[in-house]
């Protein structure tokens, strides 16, 4: 079945976007990325002398996986805009996963700074994929300023708490006319499947795979879950009923 994900006119066969953070080493990461089937993967921008390993770019190029720089660590719109511009220069892509977080403890998005940064980056020619709260109003505003997707969290980054407010995600997917990507909070395969069943167009995850006991196997699980959830969404689930309904004919 031909069912590509299209973001800003670019077509993807895979609906799983992955991160690279948290993997214990590059060979573990490589096996996980291959097993996930992903075609788009995030990287962070850091100072050269503090970076340590920079082999991640070579790895993504070798695997033919698109690079999606993020603005992780940025706390203000100004920081995020500069980081995105540096990423564009360094990586020759105008795509950016926009993150502007309010504090280190929750890593929750700062909606005021986020919207400001999104608007400035769109004006500067970026394809902006913003990490946002699971707030339908904010999602609409981000879309209105020209973001290419909206990426609501299921729960805070790295918590693995899954989708804490499925109804909000459904409200967002029901109204959005850009792809909705469930970003952050995925803990296991059923969370990813639920995101797709709620109408998300894709799932972005990192920790759930990279810190799993067997990252390669979890990556394969996430791939199947995203595919399964997407199929179920397209198939149209049965309505929920209070009382039983026999599925065999009466005697």
């Amino acid at each position: 079945m031909d069912d590509p994900l299209i973001i800003a006119g670019r077509e993807f066969r895979s609906r799983l976007i992955t991160g690279t953070g948290g993997a214990s080493n590059l060979s573990v990461l490589e096996r996980a990325l291959v097993a996930s089937g992903t075609e788009l993967t995030t990287v962070a921008m850091r100072r050269v002398d503090a970076a340590g390993n920079t082999g991640v770019l070579d790895l993504l190029r070798r695997l033919g996986i698109g690079v999606l720089p993020n603005t992780a660590g940025c706390r203000t719109a100004a920081e995020a805009v500069l980081t995105a511009q540096l990423a564009r220069e360094a990586l020759e892509t105008n795509w950016v996963k926009l993150e502007v977080v309010a504090d280190e403890r929750t890593l929750l998005p700062d909606p005021i700074e986020l919207l400001d940064a999104a608007e400035r980056l769109v004006d500067d020619g970026f394809v902006v994929l913003p990490y946002t709260n699971d707030d339908p109003v904010m999602a609409q505003k981000l879309e209105d300023v020209g973001c290419a997707t909206v990426m609501p969290l299921g729960s805070p980054i790295g918590t693995g708490l899954g989708i804490r407010n499925p109804h909000n995600i459904e409200l967002i997917t029901a109204r959005a006319s850009v792809p909705v990507v469930l970003d952050a909070g995925i803990g296991t395969a059923s969370d990813a499947a639920l995101a797709m069943e709620l109408g998300c167009s894709a799932v972005l995850l990192a920790t759930a795979v990279t810190r799993a006991q067997d990252p390669e196997r979890m990556a394969a699980a996430m791939r199947s879950a995203v595919d399964g959830g997407r199929l179920a969404r397209l198939a149209g689930r049965i309505p929920q009923r209070f009382w039983a309904q026999a599925s065999s004919p009466a005697l």
């Binding site: 990287v43 992780a72 500069l82 220069e89 360094a90």
Partner: protein, 66 residues
Amino acid sequence: MNARVNGSLRELPDGATVAAVVELTGAPSSGVAVALDGTVVPRAAWASTPVADGSVVEVLTAVQGG
């Protein structure tokens, strides 16, 4: 003269360019970007952009994250 390079104060020869500072950091040959006093300097301009005394230079590359 001195400049703050990736957070550390570094002594640089007078007339040092952005290209020289990048080399000083040991940055890889690709996948690197530079901000001079909060503004991106395109790679093509590195060799012709001088770093003034007291400048703040950030040399960034991609790492695992997100």
